[in-house]
């Protein structure tokens, strides 16, 4: 509910501070736009031409520019072309594809939760795990290994090839 009150304040103000306003280089005018999710505009690298233009509420000057756009485009000045682009699209390709430092946050959170899970499992090992089965005790495992060596399991490249049968120890 706190976020809903903040959200309605943001909407009434028409945008989040400077991100909601964008000024042209030569005319210093600002325009208002609707915030997501109230627009249909979403552009991404894989879908760069959304159905709706970025600015749908145009003031008089912008409507005049749109009328001029219906004529020959050679009559448009460079600033007008840029203004039309900014009406249609939120960001250029260069702006849209800019890098960010989000991966550091993501990796940090991943490692944090790895550590937290490790602590949980450590606690479980101390307080919750039952006794080891008899086959995992050290005596049983030693007898098991001796039997495997007696059977000469994998004598060419594997386990028995590392055991020195004369000296009864592992080969150096």
């Amino acid at each position: 509910m706190l976020s809903r009150a903040a959200w309605s304040v943001v909407l009434r103000r028409g945008g989040l501070g400077t991100r909601g306003k964008h000024s042209l280089e030569d005319s210093g005018k600002t325009w208002t736009r609707k915030m997501p999710p109230y627009t249909n505009y979403h552009a991404q690298r894989s879908y760069p031409m959304p159905d709706e233009p970025f600015c749908t509420e145009l003031n008089a000057e912008q409507r005049a520019l749109k009328e001029k756009e219906k004529g020959s485009w050679t009559q448009l000045s460079h600033a007008e072309k840029v203004a039309l682009y900014r009406l249609q699209f939120h960001e250029t390709f260069a702006e849209m594809n800019r890098r960010s430092n989000e991966w550091k946050t993501v990796m940090g959170c991943v490692f944090f939760f790895f550590g937290f899970t490790g602590l949980l499992i450590w606690w479980q090992r101390v307080y919750m795990f039952p006794e080891k089965p008899i086959t995992l005790t050290d005596e049983w495992r030693a007898k098991q290994l001796q039997r495997i060596l007696d059977m000469k399991a994998n004598p060419v490249q594997g386990l028995a090839s590392r055991w020195d049968y004369e000296k009864k120890q592992w080969k150096k």
Binding site: H78, R147, D150, M151, K152, V156, S161, Y165
Partner: protein, 75 residues
């Protein structure tokens, strides 16, 4: 506000260039991996097996195992 003219980017043959790059690369990588495997894994392994079985006495091996007590049919 005159911007300097940029060099015209490559307009044609993009797929062909990409394909050639990757076909050549795939050849080199696969042949390299095969050669590495043959000379790193297969050849040494064959040598080890040949050395093991050159002077192998199966009856002596059997006697050692029998004395160790792993058989049920030959004590």
């Amino acid at each position: 506000m005159v911007s300097s003219t940029l060099t015209k980017p490559q307009m044609r043959g993009l797929l062909a260039r990409c394909l050639q790059f990757h076909i050549v690369g795939a050849f080199i990588v696969s042949l390299g991996v095969a050669a590495l495997y043959k000379f790193g894994v297969a050849k040494p392994r064959k040598k080890v097996y040949a050395d093991f079985y050159r002077n192998y006495d199966s009856m002596k091996n059997f006697e050692e195992m029998r004395k160790a007590g792993v058989f049920q049919s030959a004590k």
